[in-house]
Point group: C2
Chain length 414, copies 2
């Protein structure tokens, strides 16, 4: 059975998907691993209790039967859409109505609608952050490469660095090529970077000037889960759609993405959703409506999520410092998210070779070159010597796993 | 903001989507209507009680926190996948493993993956039943028309008719054109027809011979909801994927499609799901696993669903007979599903004109030409004089609504 052109793209088992398949196979093969590769957030009992309590309450309401027993609007479960509207109006003074909101079955689905609604061969996807989440490229069903730029790096302390976007190069691309849409994560998966406000403004003005939508993947951002320690501009600019998620604050199983933004864009994405899956599951939306209304959810996230991940990040740094000392290694400044991002420019092996060697020793991390868009076109290969270390493991696993991994690096560094 | 080629297709507001938008606008405008256009199934308290009871039970298990609090496999929530496997192995002696199963966020999503994974301009979608559910064509993101054939009709009693597929014409298409995939509903939305076993076998052998997947949309079929009164061959042939749904038996809000079939096809659709939405919501799957294990769910569906809809169908026929008597009108034989399908070949107005006139009188039905694939290419326009009457309204609404609608028809028939 031959697949379509779209099928060819979708079934490509390359990059991070090939690695994830390899990791899944390794984990299933019986040997035990310290797994620092996972993106599955920790289950926090105190947060889980909120969802459970709201679910119990909803089951006792007369609405329950119709929540599960009726089809709904493509836009979302209307009481939840109303809660989201009020929430963001009050929190950020956004001038929005229900028509600025779309509830998707996870924020990945929102990105899928967005890339494919607006991008094709004649107006490709622009991914200004590099490295960044790989799902933007993989969700786009075109076989075309996205437009992207090589990042600049700056060393900010002896063992800390930060990526900077080459904004002038992006301006140059825009004068040469029609762009379908722009997408990036803020805070970033995998690096923990948070795009600076001035560049964010610049992107917003580019989107307006060249008339394309701009998708801001806010899966780790304020207001929830708020796993970030920098205060950023949260203005809603024209053509902009924020994609919020409940997956990092206790509800990944229910698949809920909350898109808020430009009405013309939202309207088209709703149309896509109506064709692709009719609407998102309603029970999770009903629970979320109650949680956002009845609890101080942001404070709960701050208390139980943020500190937890920032402490684990410190643990990674402590172990690396202990093992690698004054060798040539750099962690990306951690401004948010669930991952720690390590760069070892002088490494005498590729990231894939190191991944394989660490796996032999029972430790799983994700090789960093997977997260670079169009990695093959980056001439300075030192840039690719990176690793994503997940902060979702136990403290003990992080300590022992990073120890083993750092020793592996040390063997190929000095 | 310019949309992509895919976006152009997705945002086309034509056919049934234009009508549904018009209906939604009418319903929201304040005037009260007898709504015989809806596809929203009735809420049956006895069935709803099953889901609720299973949900309560699951909330008390230690698994609950991880069901909502963890990401899962793209394939589905593993305990539910296991239950589905055992269920169909036992019920139909299908020789299947977990790898023959994919849980999607509604069966529409499964169709979306299927059409786009396998069909493009060079190998289009083949829709052998005509009229049929419009979602196959609308879910396919290509601007290409699907391949289809004009149906044959036979009068089976004074006011009853049945569609027959022109199988020889389909054979002819297959010799002329590479086909990407075939899809149809069985029982059919909108007609209530059930494709005959011999044609079903013929399609299965075509799929094998020409090596394309065949999607059997079984949303009203046995084993659940089982809203059908003909016994059919339920064999699982090579290249075939059945798409079952829980949306017609009480769980539409949770969006759950159950695809069971050819492993090579399922594997590719799982790949699509992984890119498009990661996985389906898990709570609904956990509930369904419990319901299918703990209750005689099929008997419950038979008892509370099947008779209900068949009685309403009889009510439609009684009113039409009363008003239209010996005039020239035909209901399609009702072998299953939630709709009654009326054909009035000699009507002196188009179905769209009748729709508008009935709407003026406060009754909403769906004009039937919307459900014909490539209707503009059908030269015998009498074939298009059809209407879909929903059986999901109250008995009273059906009686009074069909009465008014039949009188409207009568004005343009004699």
């Amino acid at each position: 059975m031959d697949v379509s052109e779209i099928g060819k793209k979708i079934t490509q088992l390359t990059g991070v998907r090939a690695i994830m398949a390899d990791i899944k196979e390794s984990l299933g093969a019986g040997k035990s691993f310290i797994n620092l590769s996972a993106g599955n957030p920790l289950v926090i009992p105190e947060i889980g209790e909120l969802w459970k309590s709201s679910l119990s309450k909803i089951m006792e309401t007369p609405d329950f039967d119709s929540i599960i027993g009726r089809y709904g609007d493509s836009q979302g479960y209307q009481p939840f859409v109303g809660v989201v509207k009020d929430y963001f109006r009050q929190r950020y003074q956004w001038d929005i109505s229900e028509r600025n909101i779309l509830i998707t079955p996870g924020s990945q689905a929102g990105i899928f609608y967005g890339t494919n609604m607006f991008c094709d061969q004649s107006q490709p996807l622009l991914l200004p952050l590099n490295p960044d989440y790989t799902g933007y490229k993989s969700s786009w069903v075109s076989l075309e490469d996205p437009l992207t730029v090589v990042p600049n790096t700056s060393i900010v302390s002896p063992h800390t660095f930060k990526y900077q976007v080459d904004v002038s190069r992006i301006r140059q691309i825009l004068t040469q090529k029609k762009v379908g849409a722009m997408a990036f994560s803020r805070p970033s998966n995998p690096t923990g970077n948070v795009l600076e406000d001035d560049v964010f403004h610049e992107f917003a003005s580019m989107a307006k000037e060249y008339d394309f939508p701009i998708f801001v993947d806010s899966a780790y951002s304020e207001p929830f889960p708020g796993i970030t320690d920098v205060s950023v501009d949260m203005s809603l600019y024209p053509n902009m759609v924020y994609s919020f998620s409940l997956s990092k604050c206790g509800l990944p199983g229910e698949r809920m993405g909350v898109l808020v933004g430009d009405e013309a864009v939202i309207d088209k994405l709703e149309c896509f959703q109506s064709n692709a899956t009719i609407h998102s599951s309603r029970l999770g939306q009903a629970i979320a409506a109650d949680v956002l209304t009845e609890y101080d959810f942001e404070s709960m996230c701050q208390r139980y999520l943020k500190d937890l991940y920032f402490k684990k990040r410190q643990c990674v740094e402590d172990v690396l410092t202990h093992v690698l000392g004054d060798l040539d290694w750099y962690l990306h400044v951690h401004q948010g998210g669930l991952f720690s991002w390590l760069w070892v420019p002088q490494l005498k092996r590729t990231d894939l070779e190191l991944y394989a060697e660490a796996k032999e020793k029972g430790v799983l991390v994700v090789p960093g070159s997977m997260f670079f868009h169009n990695a093959e076109s980056i001439s300075n290969k030192e840039l690719l010597n990176c690793f994503r270390i997940s902060l979702t493991a136990t403290d003990e696993d992080i300590r022992s796993g990073v120890q083993i991994f750092a020793e592996t690096i040390k063997d190929h560094l000095s």
